[in-house]
Symmetry: C2
Subunit: 218 residues, 2 copies
DNA sequence: TTAATAATGTAACCTTTGTTACTGAGTCCT
DNA sequence: AGGACTCAGTAACAAAGGTTACATTATTAA
């Protein structure tokens, strides 16, 4: 047994021990592969074939929707103990990805071959619950994004976006350019700069080159 | 065995016979109740407790998202052979509905108690596939709505809406007021009237009081 | 150090969408 | 018929957000 195998079993127990029974944890350790992904790395693009299902150990992955013209929209972040429903989604039907996934922070995860998904669904109740729970969470998150796109104005969407960034990255300094934020919200750089400036004038944030310090977004 | 029981088993076989094994069909017939719902009837409102899971036999159900201020947005239609993932969604966690469901046409369906859901998920492979397939379909539909709200202008959204209405209701005459269409698209009556008038001038539709005749939306 | 590049600030303007207000036409009720 | 009501057409205006253009500042490469 290699060093990474031992590491993987330990990480699995730490992050999924409450969730999965011993037998399942062992199966995952057998067929899964441990991966480390640096922040900013594109893990999956639109049209990529889905090879495996990610089980997050640490870090966070940003999941985006993208249309034909390359317009983007942030959907949600995956965090430790979570997986990607879209991946499961892709396994049933179009094997091609309909989303883009980018590491938001340095991230570690275990990749499980998609073939195991159905097998485990029949075999392990805990896996079944995990998969359902995951679909449930993702569907709700997509609905919340839909709510914000349909019902909210850009100023509120921007504040919500900044708050979520702070939560996911566990820091009050956001390391992004205005352009990057504009992409995530499917807006334009000028609009985001304008709104950020307003937030600064209200004392909620501090603007700097390449980063934004969050003071208080209430 | 009552008349409705016999009817129900027949309807089940017609609509779900390919999908479910004999044993499951019988279980559904035992615990399910047959319902007929007239067009326009509100089957579920935001905050309602979820009592059962609907299996559609005929007709169609319109599923809407609604925010705190009562603003609405059409999500998708449920049709025969389909069920509501949102219902399943609600069974796990918040038991309260986060969506509104209105019969789009006269609709018949079988209601299954939510308790059976998990039981059958363990017991029947076909049920498991059905539930996964359903989540899959719904997640994709919500993503498509998100695409259209985020990336499309109102004129395109309106055309797509009219096309979908034609498909679901299987008729080229849409029986709605401009106000009702505006609610579904989360827009305003004046805007919809304006865009419809343009479509009429381009020869794509004919406007009448309380109904719209679709000529050609290509 | 200087030039090139990237990020931001800001003004002017345009488009889309939403709002308000009013009109008239059709429908329903008595 | 007459009045009330609903639906649709339209104009005038407002607001939000997107676009273009250009200036300024910070950073990096040469």
């Amino acid at each position: 047994m290699s060093y990474t195998d031992i590491l993987m079993i330990q990480e699995l127990k730490d992050n999924y021990g409450q969730l999965f029974e011993e037998d399942l944890l062992n199966e995952i350790a057998q067929v899964g592969t441990f991966k480390e992904v640096p922040a900013g790395f594109t893990m999956m693009a639109i049209g990529d074939y889905v090879r495996g299902m990610p089980l997050l150990i640490s870090g966070a992955i940003k999941v985006l929707r993208e249309d034909n013209e390359g317009d983007e929209l942030l959907l949600y972040y995956l965090e430790s103990g979570e997986t990607c429903s879209m991946t499961m989604n892709c396994c049933m039907g179009h094997a091609k990805s309909e989303i883009k996934a980018v590491a938001e922070r340095d991230t570690t995860l275990i990749m499980v071959p998609v073939q195991k998904m159905e097998e485990w669904t029949a075999k392990y109740k805990s896996w079944r619950n995990f998969v359902f729970q995951s679909y449930h969470t993702r569907l709700n998150e997509v609905l919340h994004i839909l709510d914000s796109v349909a019902f909210d104005k850009m100023d509120k969407r921007l504040v919500d976006y900044l708050k979520e960034k702070v939560r996911v990255n566990k820091t009050n300094t956001i390391h992004n350019t205005h352009q990057e934020i504009a992409y995530d919200l499917h807006s334009s750089r000028v609009v985001i700069s304008r709104l950020l400036k307003k937030l600064e004038q209200m004392g909620h944030i501090e603007l700097h080159r390449n980063h934004i310090k969050i003071i208080n977004l209430a």
